[in-house]
């Protein structure tokens, strides 16, 4: 099996397959595994998803201040959510990683910040189960992820910093402003500038 448990976005390239094809294969595989969990409650499929995503969620939670034990509990909660709501996942609406990201983010709001996560799962609007083989959207979303990573890594460091402090450290605008000793307006302005560059990815200009 190529790659090792961990982040599907960061599989190691082997000699005979391009990193892009590997990522694409991994993405399709994740969607297939989700499908198996949804229609058959397939525990083996679930375990593969668990091995891929639970360590990522744990890492996310620890980055945002949870200790190892809490982070592990939260990773488990996230994966339980994946198990229970597998039938709501629709592969044409985005990758499994996107779904896990939103589940983990909402869990963090709920458990670490103790606030209500005001997110509506749009998948609930239609309960159609995904039975398609590799949808075209998987190709598009793999490309978008690749370009996104490129843009993020080439942002001016002051913009990259505020974006990472928000998404990875889980800091609010004010918290970032306090930490960097900057006016609130400057923090927001850097985020807007970063996003303007990132938008080029979606508009096919990168």
């Amino acid at each position: 099996m190529p790659g090792k448990p961990g982040n599907p976005n960061m599989l190691h390239a082997s000699a005979d397959e391009s990193p892009e094809r590997k990522r694409l294969a991994a993405r399709a595989e994740m969607a297939d595994l989700m499908h198996q969990v949804a229609i058959a409650k397939d525990r083996v499929a679930f375990q593969q998803l668990f091995d891929t995503f639970a360590p990522v969620v744990k890492g996310m939670m620890m980055r945002q201040g949870a200790n190892a034990e809490t982070a592990e509990d939260l990773a488990q909660e996230a994966m339980m959510s994946v198990w229970r709501k597998a039938s709501l996942y629709q592969s044409d609406k985005g990758s499994v990683a996107t779904w896990v990201f939103t589940i983990a983010r909402n869990l963090r709001i709920d458990r670490l910040r103790r606030e209500v996560p005001w997110q509506e799962l749009t998948e609930e609007r239609s309960q159609i189960e995904s039975d398609a083989p590799l949808p075209d959207d998987q190709v598009a979303s793999a490309q978008i992820q690749r370009r996104m990573r490129l843009v993020l890594s080439t942002l001016p460091s002051d913009q990259q910093q505020v974006v990472e402090m928000a998404y990875l450290d889980g800091l609010s605008h004010s918290e970032i402003a306090d930490k960097l000793e900057l006016p609130l307006g400057t923090v927001k302005s850097r985020m807007r500038l970063a996003y303007q560059k990132i938008k080029n990815v979606f508009e096919g200009q990168i």
Binding site: P5, G6, N7, N9, R43, Q47, F50, A54, P55, V56, K58, G59, M60, R63, A68, E72, A75, Q76, M79, M80, W83, R84, L88, G94, A97, T98, F101, T102, R108, R114, E115, V116, P117, W118, Q119, E120, L121, T122, E124, Q127, I144, R149, L152, V163, A166, Y167, L168, G170, S172, E175, G185, K188, S189, M191, R192, Y195, Q196, I198, K199, F202
Partner: protein, 242 residues
């Protein structure tokens, strides 16, 4: 037609889950009716996914993994949670308001140019504007304070303002969002009608005034504790001076 949308920095914080409960509810309410901002949010969530790919993954303990797989057995014997139950805290009532469940905006009783209560609000204030227990804040201004979670800092309230009245503004330094639910108001930055969201920097005083002809109902959030006492006294001063 919605003309005033959420700022990119606000949506980014929302996508990252850092916006705070009060502001987040206003964002969620606007998103409920604005496809453009929903599309932006999806893109901003993809930024989060890309960054998630850069985090150092932490191995799960053997005991932890075993416990997780054991929980699958227990989970299966639980009754299937209602499909409409989303992430913790987001419940879309169906039995209580079939119109909402069907995606039809329940106009309730109110100005005809209103948009009805956005779904995130229905669980908090009931299905129609009638159900809201308004309290008098100042002449021509009624309000209803929405409760927040114990750990949340901030202020969230509905305002009901008569035509021609000035709307209380937040103080400097606070982040604030205003979503118009019915009627309209105008200020230095333009006219805000039902569905529009005012997401402005707090430095300037905009002096919003409700347009004539309709009551204006707004959802207003601040990331700081209630400042309305001070604000109301500022509004009343011109009246007192008369």
């Amino acid at each position: 037609m919605i003309q005033h949308h959420l700022d990119d920095a606000t949506l980014m914080a929302y996508a990252a889950g850092t916006l705070g409960e009060a502001l987040s509810l206003v964002v969620a309410s606007h998103l409920d009716i604005c496809p453009k901002c929903r599309a932006e949010l999806r893109q901003l969530e993809l930024v989060g996914v890309a960054l998630m790919g850069t985090i150092k993954a932490e191995p799960i303990s053997v005991a932890g993994e075993r416990a997780a797989l054991a929980r699958l057995e227990a989970t299966d014997s639980e009754p299937d949670s209602a499909a409409v139950q989303g992430a913790a805290g987001v419940v879309v009532p169906t039995a209580s308001n079939p119109a909402v469940a069907a995606g039809i905006r329940s106009d309730g009783v109110g100005p005809s140019d209103g948009i009805g209560l956005p779904r995130p609000l229905v669980g908090l204030v009931g299905a129609t504007y009638d159900a809201i227990a308004w309290k008098r804040l100042a002449p021509g201004i009624k309000h209803y304070r929405l409760p927040l979670s114990a750990g949340a800092v901030g202020d969230l309230r509905l305002l009901h303002i008569e035509p021609g009245r000035q709307i209380p503004e937040h103080g400097h330094g606070a982040s604030e969002l205003t979503l118009v639910l019915a009627g309209s108001y105008s200020d230095a930055t333009g006219r805000y009608s039902a569905g529009d969201v005012a997401d402005l920097d707090s430095d300037i005083e905009h002096q919003p005034v409700v347009d004539l002809g309709s009551v204006c109902i707004c959802l207003v959030a601040s990331d700081q504790k209630a400042r309305f006492k001070g604000l109301v006294s500022r509004i009343l001063q011109p009246l007192i001076g008369m």
